[in-house]
Symmetry: C2
Subunit: 365 residues, 2 copies
DNA sequence: CTAATTTCTGTAATCGGTTACATGACACAC
DNA sequence: GTGTGTCATGTAACCGATTACAGAAATTAG
């Protein structure tokens, strides 16, 4: 019982008194088999607890039924929602998901990509750090890859990007519509493409409205948002609104305002980006730009599957488009002109507005 | 350029003017090779962009260098931290991680386990729903498996469990030490082993203190925590403290108290469980029981690697112990006798108390 | 210079599936 | 009975790595 070798397809064939070809036909569903044969095979499979050797199968079919996902160091909720969406889609396609996470620089991400090559049929790469050149070098020539490197539109490569630029514009326009004129921006870390796109959107929207832009440094952490507001107040800020590069910094900003006795939204309105779960739990609840993350992940995997099929079939339709996910404004109390006195707490947010996904064209960054 | 077949080890051998054996020796690092040979091989590998076929390798070595993780439908931060820890550990061992998430019932989890068998060297299974019988049926006989099915101590199988029972006891004792006497518990969904262990701990601690237990139904969602408190207040509760089965419900409870004008912690103290990031952002900041999730994930993977080694070496030390992770109390304002007027907002929590991991013995559920 | 080692290299078997092709069985029509 | 077509099945050749073993080359000893 201890060291019984695992059963092979030949063992199954022997027990079922058929050839290996018949066993394979039953198991893969390809090719005709009579009912009695099928039964005998299934009985033998069950009796021997036979599991096909995936390596052997992959060797003869030259497919792995596995896709890889390379991720940077992401905030909790974003990460889990994304994987959830991808995993669900993968399951419906009968695929497995290899994940490699927490790559906080380009070299690590490259290494992860290289070590995945050869064991996956395709890859999804999220990498705010990796530029096109670096990436191309790491990628296997013919391996289908879907990029989600928010910000840099790498022409010619299939990708899905969040419209950070457009989202930032919408956030600023929302603040302006609410009466704000002196709007400051707490930006994300330099070098992060998403952060830069959001800042660019802010700058453009301010310029378009004829307003003066003011950018305060941040790094996407809560404490940096807190510090940014403290610094602003210390130097006698007259801002009547703040657009933070992400929700986490926005929450830090809210707390700093609260500590300083500045009312939100009456004195200073605040808008974040991402719609993390905390956004609806803080008081005042935080206005933000929402992305339907799970849906985006699902969509990414579906597109990758299409790319893999396109490669297999040698038929041409390799969809090389850069698809754009547009964030939607979720207006809550932190930017409301007349905040409701008492917000209900049962806003679980699961059923709210979905982010739209539109296809074609390139991002207007 | 379009449909160039991927290079094989024979192509490399031909180009480098050596045998496949030498190429293999260079690439695997096993066996002696002269420097000139090594150089020629490496040059050929680079020139052909050769990547070893993992299936073929797995076929001859009968190892996949991959481990699987089966997960239920988890809350965001927990999920991502756990994967982060496991992924980091996997990388140091040169292993890849296949994840399958969002299994919200036993059948789905079983299916996931079966579909993973044969493509991994070992598995980590988190499954609050799967009982021992179901699990054993789904598991390959000789595949190393590490369980993290919080609550059910499946004797004889290597596992890591969170001491939910002990954590609940500690939480209640903390509330009692703060002066509370009428402590209510908002429990998690029935059938969830973790929820049940926490409730059992609450009941035992109350009994030990000679206090009367009161349990209100919840389901781990924020709105259920909110509803529970509203129900309590509606029927004229006299509770001076609430122990919630998790942080998310505790936050719902906090908001409900706030809406009703009940002060926390002055009138009612609140303690949660998990220490999700929100816990330190709500006001009052939430006292809770913390588990170092990433560390636990890392530890789980390390133990799995040991199990795989033990199986390979045929040497005996198969570590079958049930390791226990003890949550640590994080006392914040929601349960402080004299809450500080102004809490600093820069408590990022990354550097706080680590949860202890102690080994051996069984959980005293 | 020959013999004994040691070190490197190559040949070919092997891992466990899939599948093209050949074979055999059977039915039906004439 | 023979011919023809269909359908189920088996045989054996792959897929691309690793590695036991044998043989060649280089080193050292005597």
């Amino acid at each position: 019982m201890a060291s019984m070798k695992a059963a092979t397809i030949r063992d199954v064939a022997a027990r079922a008194q058929v050839s290996v070809a018949s066993v394979s036909r039953v198991l893969t569903g390809a090719g005709a088999v009579t009912e009695p044969t099928r039964q005998r095979v299934l009985e033998a499979v069950a009796a021997l607890a036979y599991v096909p050797h995936s390596g052997a199968r992959s060797l003869s079919t030259s497919r792995t039924d596995t896709v890889g996902v390379v991720l940077p160091d992401l905030f909790g909720e974003f990460f889990s929602e994304l994987i959830r969406g991808m995993d669900l889609a993968a399951r419906t396609h009968g695929l497995h998901l290899i994940v490699s996470s927490s790559h906080d620089d380009a070299d690590e991400a490259s290494a992860a990509i290289r070590s995945m090559r050869g064991r996956v049929d395709g890859m999804i790469v999220l990498s705010p750090h990796l530029d096109a050149a670096n990436l191309a070098a790491s990628l296997a020539g013919s391996l289908p890859v879907l990029l989600m490197n928010g910000g840099a539109t790498d022409a010619g490569r299939p990708s899905i990007v969040v419209d950070n630029h457009g989202g930032a514009v919408a956030a600023v326009e929302h603040l302006i519509a609410g009466g704000a004129r002196d709007i400051a921006h707490i930006c994300g870390p330099t070098g992060n493409l998403e952060a830069e796109a959001r800042m660019a959107g802010y700058v453009q929207a301010m310029a378009a409205a004829g307003l003066k832009a003011r950018v305060v440094d941040g790094d996407f952490s809560q404490s940096s948002g807190h510090a940014a507001v403290r610094a602003m107040l210390a130097e006698g800020s007259h801002s009547d609104a703040i657009f933070a590069g992400n929700d986490v910094m926005a929450v830090g900003a809210l707390l700093a305002l609260q500590e300083a006795g500045v009312r939100c939204p009456e004195d200073v309105a605040v808008v974040g980006f991402d719609d993390v779960p905390i956004a609806q739990l803080v008081r005042p609840s935080l206005s933000t730009m929402r992305i339907n993350i799970a849906e985006t992940g699902r969509r990414a995997l579906d597109r990758l599957v299409d790319l893999i099929r396109a490669k297999d079939d040698e038929a041409l339709p390799a969809d090389v488009a850069c698809e754009i996910v547009r964030p939607v404004l979720v207006a809550r109390d932190s930017s409301r002109a007349n905040p409701s006195i008492n917000t209900q707490a049962s806003d679980d947010g699961r059923t709210a507005v979905k982010s739209t996904i539109s296809s074609g064209g390139h991002q207007d960054v």
